[in-house]
């Protein structure tokens, strides 16, 4: 462009001044740095993950409670301060004077997980073997069939525990998610979230050494 303009000038023999080919790019770099920082901070790279749960249908007022065998039942009560209390079998409201003691444990790998795996050994082993076969290539099936296979294993199982998850008022949402997650890790086939009964609340209060009045004040 510059040359063309110069040719138009009459007899311009002057040579066009040669500019250095460098442009000062510092402001541009500055701006880009800012933009990159901005985008990096506002971008959500990994999408949040989800855990699916299904609640049972709302029960009618006077419908009988579903019958489950007491020998397979394991009750987990989420207590305050990230504690877990467990007891096997069932307790009836009639024997509130003679409540079974609660075993206290926690969310660590040696705590509740150990306990669940102990009771769920057969199924957990089956699932682990199945996963192992898929991973080592002995069994070549699609991802969907893997999930289906595990589901079938869980369905066929009739020795593992039936876990009833209850929460005392001092528990929080994180505890609930953690315990549901623990169910997934240990491959528990049957578990459900149920309401805590008043005598189970009493059991927790005895075990944790909370006086009932203090508990209500806490709430």
């Amino acid at each position: 462009m510059a040359e063309i303009i110069q040719e138009e000038k009459a007899g311009g023999k002057k040579k066009a001044k040669k500019h250095a080919p460098h442009i000062d790019m510092t402001p541009m770099v500055d701006l880009m740095c800012l933009l990159i920082t901005f985008f990096m901070l506002t971008t959500a790279f990994s999408k949040a993950k989800i855990m699916e749960i299904i609640l049972p249908e709302k029960q009618k007022e006077n419908a009988p409670a579903p019958k489950i065998s007491a020998s397979r039942t394991l009750n987990i009560i989420l207590g305050p301060d990230n504690k877990i209390y467990t007891y096997p079998g069932t307790v009836k409201a009639e024997d509130f004077n003679n409540l079974p003691p609660l075993a206290e444990t926690d969310f660590s790998a040696t705590g509740i997980r150990q306990k669940l795996l102990e009771r769920n050994r057969t199924l957990a082993k089956k699932i682990a073997d199945f996963n192992d076969q898929v991973l080592t290539g002995k069994l070549v099936i699609s991802q969907d069939s893997v999930l289906g296979g595990i589901r079938q294993l869980k369905k066929d199982d009739d020795t593992g525990p039936i876990v009833l998850i209850k929460a005392y008022k001092g528990a929080n949402y994180g505890n609930v998610v953690d315990i549901l997650d623990e169910m997934n890790i240990c491959g528990i086939a049957l578990y459900m979230l149920v309401d805590i009964t008043w005598y189970e609340e009493k059991m927790v209060e005895t075990a944790a050494g909370i006086t009932p009045s203090a508990a209500t004040a806490q709430k």
């Binding site: 460098h22 990096m40 855990m51 192992d132 001092g170 949402y173 890790i185």
Partner: protein, 212 residues
């Protein structure tokens, strides 16, 4: 000894390659950016081993903050184009005999975040200018049995968008009674399958551990 004279170099560095890389990175970030939605309350989601990603559309998200407030967000991502929000608010206003003007419905549609405003304060909330002024009204949706507005919001959301799935995004410090109330409301409205939003955490167990 003669001094060794270093040749003086020009202080300019050729920044072209740097600019090139910056350009590439910038373009990449701009194209992949999905803006992190700003939430009215900070929420620390609990961890789980689940690896399923959150669906992009047809979801409503219940946000439970650690001070036991409940928020609801109806449309995320592509759903926004379908303009569910004004319809839901109009239905909600109809139930409480509150007439919302077009401008108010528009304001509600534009609000980019979860809603946690009692319906009676909604007009003031929509009239407030700026996020700070608006956040004052975000006291959480009432969930008491006497004034169960959350149940109505859920009902109307499901009327407007029948395919909606429910996500719960709770802070790990949210107290259980609040969670229980919300779950009960969902169960009552026949929403029995839902998704808990969690962050990923690795957990491994091996066969040896099982056989112990």
């Amino acid at each position: 000894m003669p001094k060794i004279k270093l040749p003086t170099k020009s202080p300019h560095i050729d920044m072209t390659p740097m600019v090139d890389t910056f350009c590439v990175v910038l373009t990449f970030l701009m194209l992949t950016a999905t803006m992190r939605p700003t939430e009215p309350a900070p929420v620390d989601t609990p961890f789980s081993i689940s690896e399923k990603p959150t669906p992009d559309f047809n979801i409503m998200t219940l946000l439970l903050s650690n001070d036991d407030r409940v928020f609801l967000n109806f449309d995320n991502g592509p759903d926004t184009l379908l303009k569910f929000r004004p319809k839901i608010l109009a239905l909600m206003g109809g139930r409480y005999s509150i007439e919302f003007t077009k401008a108010e419905l528009r304001e509600f549609e534009k609000y980019p975040s979860s809603i946690g405003v009692p319906i009676l304060k909604m007009k003031e909330f929509l009239a407030a200018k700026g996020n700070k002024a608006k956040n004052v009204f975000q006291t959480g949706i009432p969930i008491d049995s006497t004034d169960n507005q959350l149940a109505l919001w859920i009902l109307f959301t499901r009327q407007v968008n029948p395919n909606v799935q429910t996500c719960i995004k709770g802070d790990s410090k949210t107290s259980y009674p609040t969670v229980k109330k919300v779950l009960d409301i969902l169960q009552e409205k026949n929403v029995r399958q839902f998704m808990l939003i969690t962050s990923l955490e690795a957990a491994k167990i091996n066969i040896a551990e099982i056989q112990q």
